[in-house]
Symmetry: C2
Subunit: 204 residues, 2 copies
C-alpha cells in the first residue's frame, strides 16, 4: 500500500480514472468496483473516497474521459471529406466504430445515472454539448440559413438516430435478418434524415 | 422453503419471472440477483437453476415479457388515429412513456447480453420482429408501393431515431438546454424522417 503522501490529489484522481478504464476494458461494467480500483492503484478504498465523493463521482470522471475520446474519434473524420453530408455519414460510422471497439466504456457512458441528490455538473454538460457542436458544424455548412435553435434541434434529432441504430444494432435488437449491414443502415438513415430535414424547412 | 413438488416447472418459471420483474421495479438492474429471486419465491437458488440454465436465461425471459408489454403499450396507440404519420408519432410517444415508467425493465432489455456461447433463441428474435411489425403497418399504409425489404429498412431507421432520442434524453445526454421538450423533439424527428424517406424514394 502506497502512503497518502506519495501522490498529489490530482495524481491520485488521474491514477484512479486510468485504473477504472483499464478494469472496464478488461472486465466490463459489472466488473468495476471501488475496491478493484483502489487495489489496482495500491491505495485503500478510504483514500479513494478522499479524492472522489463516491463511486458515482469516479464514474462521472471516467465518462468525461470517454466523451473526450469519443469526440476525438468523431472529429478525426471531419476533415477527411469536403461534402458536409459525407462528413456526417463518416462521423456516424466513427461513432459506431467507437461503440464497437470500446463497448464497456460506451455502455457505462449511457447507463450510468448520478443519484437523484447529485446534479450533473456544468463542466460535464459542456462536454456533451461539445460533442454535438462537432456534429453541428457540417449541418450548419449544409444549411447556413438555419438559426441556432433549429440547428440545435436538428443536431439532436440526427444524432438520436445514429445513437439509436448503434445501441439497437450492438444489442442485437435490430433484426436486420442479414439483409443489411448496420453500417449501410446508418448511412441510409443519415441520408434520409438530411433529405427530410431540408424538405420540412422548405429548403429542398 | 417450499418443496420442489409444490409447483410445476412452468409455475416455477412464471413465479421467478414475476419475482424478478418486481425486484427490478423496486431495486433497479443492479439490485437483481438469483439469490433475491429465489428468496422471493421461497425456493433455493439450486431449484431456480433447475428451471433456468443460468441467470442470463432468466433475464432473457424477463426481457421477453418486457417486449410483450412494450408492444402492447405501442399498439394501444395504433387505433387512436387514422392518419398513419400521426399513428407513428403517437406510437413513438408511447415508447417514450414506457421507457419513463419502466426505466429498470427498459434498461435491462437493452443492456443485457447473453454470454458468447449462448445464442439468442429464435422465439426471442421473433418477439423483436413483432414489435417492428407493429411500426411497419402505418409505414406501409403511408407507402403501399414499398417492397418488404425497403419497409424493413425504413422501420429500423425510423425506430432507431425514436429509441436513440429516448435513450439519450432519459440519460441526460441530449442537452436540450430547456429549449425543447423531449416529446417535441421526438415528434419533429418522426416528421422529418418521414419527409426525407418519401423524398429519397422519389415519392414526395
Amino acid at each position: 500500500m502506497a502512503r497518502r503522501s506519495d501522490h498529489s490529489r490530482e495524481q491520485l484522481q488521474q491514477m484512479a480514472i486510468s485504473a477504472a478504464i483499464a478494469i472496464l476494458n478488461e472486465h466490463g461494467v459489472a466488473g468495476l468496483s471501488a475496491r478493484k480500483v483502489a487495489k489496482s492503484i495500491g491505495y485503500t478504498v478510504g483514500t479513494l473516497y478522499l479524492v472522489f465523493k463516491n463511486l458515482d463521482e469516479l464514474l462521472l470522471y471516467v465518462n468525461a474521459a470517454t466523451l473526450d475520446d469519443l469526440q476525438r474519434a468523431i472529429m478525426q473524420e471531419a476533415n477527411v471529406h469536403t461534402d458536409p453530408a459525407q462528413i456526417l455519414k463518416t462521423m456516424a460510422l466513427a461513432y459506431l466504430r467507437y461503440a464497437q471497439q470500446h463497448s464497456a466504456r460506451w455502455s457505462l457512458l449511457f447507463s450510468h445515472r448520478l443519484p437523484a441528490n447529485q446534479p450533473i455538473p456544468a463542466w460535464f454538460e459542456q462536454k456533451i454539448t461539445s460533442v454535438f457542436d462537432g456534429v453541428k458544424m457540417p449541418l450548419q455548412q449544409l444549411h447556413p440559413e438555419l438559426n441556432e435553435s433549429a440547428l440545435l434541434q436538428a443536431t439532436r434529432e440526427l444524432w438520436s438516430g445514429v445513437h439509436g441504430a448503434c445501441d439497437l444494432g450492438l444489442s442485437d435488437k435490430l433484426n436486420l435478418g442479414g439483409r443489411f449491414k448496420l453500417e449501410e443502415l446508418i448511412e441510409s438513415f443519415v441520408e434520409n434524415y438530411l433529405f427530410g430535414f431540408a424538405k420540412s424547412k422548405g429548403i429542398a
